[in-house]
């Protein structure tokens, strides 16, 4: 293929030398195995200690852990805001919190939970688990992965610093124009919100690409798409949804910020703009967002059900199809958030039926899980309890969802506490319960110790019952005419009791979460040492030690069924021949997972962090002057170029990304 004359003598000499050296490279295999192999792999993959090493690491397990911990911290912060609001609403005409402050509270609560907790925590869990589950040594593009974490961290910190400095946003997490526009939101509050979106959206998109490529290209040999675990499927669908949904919110928030900073007229009705353009773009993202949060949770449910029922989830293919169709349908529903805006009535009935159709794939999944329980032999340890709680709670949310999909009903219930109840049933029941379950389930994988079952059960029952007490009465608050986002309500409308109950429930949930966290921290030191496969699970993440070594697997496993660990009799088939003295992993073909390439994994590098700092400064500065974007290009370009520039210019026998 190569025209030989075009290659200079010197290069040809190099090629020959490198070809010879290639023979001498150490690779894992029958003659390099066990303790010695592990020692050498560890030397190759272990990160350098110290703050530099911490900032530079590209180990997906460390980054995943950071994602999860950071997201949980934001969950706590968002929860505190929720408690503050519940205290204010506990009594009618209460004046504890000023309207301005209250508006900031619910804006921060919504934005934090949506952008800084729910999506990142799902991605964090996936970043940690997916490479283990599909049997590879690292995520693809590990530096991009590190970059995405720092962008997320900086975005969240910026939002909260702004809040503490009293320039936090006060326009709602949906920031409807023109209220969020230049005339009605003077100052920087709304800009801070819009830039926080930019941060988190950059980070979410990066993480999505990382996950898609990992799932499609880095699966263990033999793990065909048909044999891929349901959690991997869920994350694949979710990541693809992020790829299509996030640009919408990025675009509309950029339009908003340019309206506010440089006087464009996208949303200015008087200059041919339209306030509803915002709502269309925002909900084109905002509705899929709900499924971006929910679909990974279904993955969690499948994982737990399978393990605790000792059965592969019933009708694997059906569940996969359900996931995919949910992902597609989710993009056709955004208008059901806008029924009250006076769009043509004919369109409405279409969106009504579309919104109801989504219930079918979800209903299918519910059935498949129930069928698995029916077939199997369920053991009710904490994770499984959360699955049961999930079904009991989420189905209520789903059904109220069907109710508000009907235009005539939605016109009454829209923007009332009925809606608040609905989406908390869907998001907490549908996503947070499975999350708590899966954290308990994978805790031994991540820490090597078990969480206390007793404390786990206590916090489970408190969170489950407390949740019902907090949110069920909200259905009534809504039906009695209480709108959302009000900092107080008058006495005598019958709203006193439901709101008081909600407040009490909220505090029970908060206490339960505290117990959960305490359990997590105590078990870190006191917890029982976990056996390699404590729950007797079937998937590959349990085929290595807990916590896993930096290189995940000494040899890349080979998969021969949907439930590898249940089907190997004592001996795990593996492939050999990956490099030991340099980071390397195996790529396989997309569908059949046939070994395809050996992919060098980048060394740790400080540049992703530096790049994220540069980009972060530009984003924050651009809130105050649009020129920041122009001047900021230079440092960002330098940082990113340096990120990709090889650190040593000599050729290696095989590619090394240093």
């Amino acid at each position: 293929m190569t025209p030989p004359d075009s290659i200079p003598q010197r290069i040809r000499a190099q090629d020959e030398r490198l070809a010879r050296e290639r023979g001498t490279i150490a690779r894992d295999g029958p003659d390099l195995r066990g303790a010695e192999l592990e020692a050498r792999l560890d030397r190759t993959w272990r990160r350098t200690p110290g703050i530099i090493g911490w900032l530079a690491t590209v180990d997906h397990k460390e980054i995943g852990r950071r994602y999860i911990i950071t997201a949980l911290i934001f969950l706590a912060l968002g929860g505190v805001l929720a408690l503050a609001m519940r205290v204010q609403l506990a009594r009618p005409d209460s004046a504890l919190i000023s309207p301005q402050r209250y508006n900031e509270l619910f804006t921060m609560h919504g934005s934090t939970m949506m952008f800084l907790f729910a999506v990142p925590v799902m991605e964090g869990v996936a970043v940690y688990i997916i490479p283990l589950m599909v049997g590879t040594r690292s995520t693809t593009f590990p530096r991009l992965n590190a970059f995405s974490y720092f962008m997320y961290l900086f975005g969240g910190v910026m939002l909260w610093v702004a809040f503490l400095l009293n320039i936090g946003p006060d326009v709602g997490w949906f920031a409807y124009t023109p209220l969020s526009g230049p005339e009605f939101s003077p100052g920087k509050r709304a800009d801070v919100w819009a830039q926080m979106i930019t941060f988190t959206e950059v980070s979410a998109l990066a993480a999505a690409v990382v996950l898609i490529c990992t799932i499609l290209k880095a699966r263990a040999p033999g793990m065909t798409l048909a044999r891929m675990p349901l959690f991997a499927w869920a994350m694949l669908v979710q990541a693809v949804m992020i790829v299509f949904a996030m640009p919408a919110v990025a675009l509309c928030s950029s339009m908003l910020i340019s309206d506010r900073l440089v006087g464009t007229n996208f949303y200015n009705a008087a200059e041919h703009g339209d306030a509803l353009l915002w709502q269309h773009l925002f909900w084109f993202f905002g509705h899929p967002e709900v499924y971006i949060i929910f679909i990974p949770a279904t993955g969690f449910v499948s994982v737990i059900t399978e393990t605790f029922c000792r059965r592969p989830v019933f009708a694997h293919a059906v569940v996969v199809l359900a996931l995919i169709s949910t992902g597609i349908l989710a993009f056709g529903l955004w208008v059901h958030h806008m029924f009250a805006t006076g769009l043509p009535r004919v369109g409405y009935s279409f969106y009504t039926s579309a919104s109801m159709t989504v219930a079918i794939p979800t209903g299918l999944q519910i059935f498949c899980w129930l069928a698995t329980i029916w077939d199997g032999r369920p053991r009710f340890q904490v994770p499984m309890l959360y699955v049961v709680a999930f079904i009991i709670t989420f189905v209520i949310g789903g059904l109220t969802g069907v109710i508000i999909a009907a235009v005539p009903l939605d016109l009454e219930l829209h923007d009332t506490y009925f809606i608040v109840a609905h989406f908390h049933y869907v998001l907490i029941g549908g996503a947070v319960f499975p999350l708590l379950g899966i954290l308990t389930y994978w805790y031994p994988k991540i820490t090597g110790r078990m969480m206390s079952e007793t404390l786990g059960k206590i916090s489970f029952w408190m969170v489950f019952l407390g949740f019902q007490l907090a949110f069920f009465p909200m259905h009534f608050s809504g039906l009695l005419g209480m709108p959302r986002r009000v900092y107080t309500y008058p006495a005598g409308l019958g709203l006193e009791l439901p709101n008081l109950l909600s407040t009490i429930g909220a505090f029970i949930v908060a206490l339960a979460v505290v117990i959960f966290v305490v359990n997590g921290i105590v078990s870190l030191y006191r917890g029982m040492i976990a056996p390699p496969n404590p729950w007797g699970a079937a998937t590959l993440e349990w085929a290595t030690t807990s916590p896993p070594p930096p290189y995940n697997f000494a040899h890349i496993p080979v998969v021969e069924s949907n439930t590898p660990l249940w089907d190997v009799d004592g001996e795990m088939p593996v492939v050999t021949g990956l490099r030991v003295d340099e980071k390397e992993t195996l790529l396989t073909t997309v569908v059949a997972a046939v070994p395809d390439l050996r992919e060098p994994i980048p060394e740790a590098s400080l540049w992703p962090f530096i790049a994220s700092v540069a980009v972060g400064i530009v984003f924050v500065a651009s809130i105050f002057s649009p020129w920041a974007l122009a001047f900021g290009v230079v440092p960002c370009a330098i940082a990113i170029a340096a990120w990709f520039w090889p650190k040593e210019m000599k050729r290696h026998p095989e590619p090394v990304i240093s």
Partner: protein
């Protein structure tokens, strides 16, 4: 009879024994629209309840079926790959069931929607409601301009008369929502929306802005009086009259202040020099039930409080705290109270 069903729905609250008023709830059954809503709502509730019962029944059955038998901790070898054929048929049945259920609901919703749309086909009365931060500007349309009534924050509607309400916004997006009378409809700058309804029950109903509209969103309420046709006409003719001239020296002093000082830059009082268009029309202020868009009930005390320091009672609203001297305050309130 719908009302009773509504009451049944909110039974838990009644049992809890809180004294309980329905004038902002959807169970009032006070208009054709809400009547249809309630029927549809109950249909949905029943279907959803059945579906939920099925799921939970299945869940319980699945749990009790296997949890007793056999040792819990063994991984079942061999047959865990084939799935139970009975379940496969079950899956199909389930899908069909959910499908039909949803289809039924979609159709029900479609017809419900249509009957609501047709309810007030031929309107008799047309009203403009303009949303402002944070109050409602209301004009009763009429062929001849002299018969137009301008008021604020309080609608009067004749019972059994179809009314067509035209919704506009001057600043941000608001949402017109009187739960007992109709579903909500947004007021969007640069767009014209409208809503029709036929009130069926005489009474007083409370509505509230339902789209977040800034600082005082929570205090942007609207009182709707549904009167007999006679009472409505009486009210309407009264609204056409201009404000009575001051009689006592005190009210005279108040009159002087209101018409010459800050108040008149924003407020209009028919028949006086005060012709501001920024704030609510005050011509018949004292005849309204509430002050500052439902922020507080109309009473001498509240009026004192409001005129003295609006910013502390409704923080962030556009009415400034003038800082009246006590005698000025007495005079102004005394005069405002004559505006029946």
């Amino acid at each position: 009879m719908m009302g009773r069903r509504g009451a049944v729905l909110s039974l838990p609250l009644l049992l809890a024994g809180c004294d309980y008023q329905t004038y902002q709830s959807i169970f009032s059954d006070a208009s054709t629209e809400v009547h249809d809503f309630n029927i549809l709502f109950v249909i949905f509730l029943i279907v959803c309840a059945i579906m939920y019962a099925l799921v939970i029944g299945f869940l319980i059955a699945a749990i009790v079926r296997r949890s007793r038998t056999g040792p819990a901790d063994v991984v079942e070898e061999g047959r865990h790959h084939q799935s139970n054929p009975a379940m496969r048929t079950g899956l199909i049945g389930w899908t069909a069931l959910v499908g039909t259920g949803l289809m039924a609901l979609a159709i029900a919703s479609f017809f419900g929607d249509r009957s609501m749309a047709n309810a007030a086909a031929n309107e008799k009365l047309s009203v403009n409601v303009t949303g402002k931060q944070w109050w409602w500007d209301i004009t009763y349309n009429s062929a001849d301009a002299s018969k137009m009534v301008r008021t604020a924050n309080e609608l009067h509607l004749p019972v059994d008369v179809p009314v067509h309400i035209y919704l506009k916004s001057d600043d941000v997006i608001h949402s017109f929502w009187v739960p007992s009378l109709a579903g909500k409809q947004d007021l969007i700058p640069g767009r014209d929306n409208d809503i029709t309804l036929v009130p069926r029950k005489i009474g007083i109903y409370r509505g509230q802005c339902a789209e977040f509209c800034g600082a005082d969103h929570a205090k942007m309420a609207l009182i709707v009086n549904v009167d007999s046709y006679a009472d409505f006409l009486k009210w309407w003719h009264h609204q056409l009259e201009s404000a009575p001239a001051p009689t006592s020296p005190l009210t005279q002093a108040g009159y002087n202040f209101v018409t010459t000082r800050q108040c008149s830059s924003c407020h209009a009082i028919a028949g006086t020099p005060a012709n501001g268009t920024v704030g609510p029309d005050l011509t018949h202020l004292a005849s309204r039930r509430s002050i500052a868009a439902g922020a507080m009930p109309m009473s001498e005390g509240n009026l004192y409080g409001w005129v003295a320091d609006p910013q502390s009672l409704k923080p962030g609203n556009h009415m400034p705290t003038i800082g009246l001297e006590p005698d000025q305050l007495h005079a102004v309130v005394a005069y405002l109270e004559t505006l029946k």
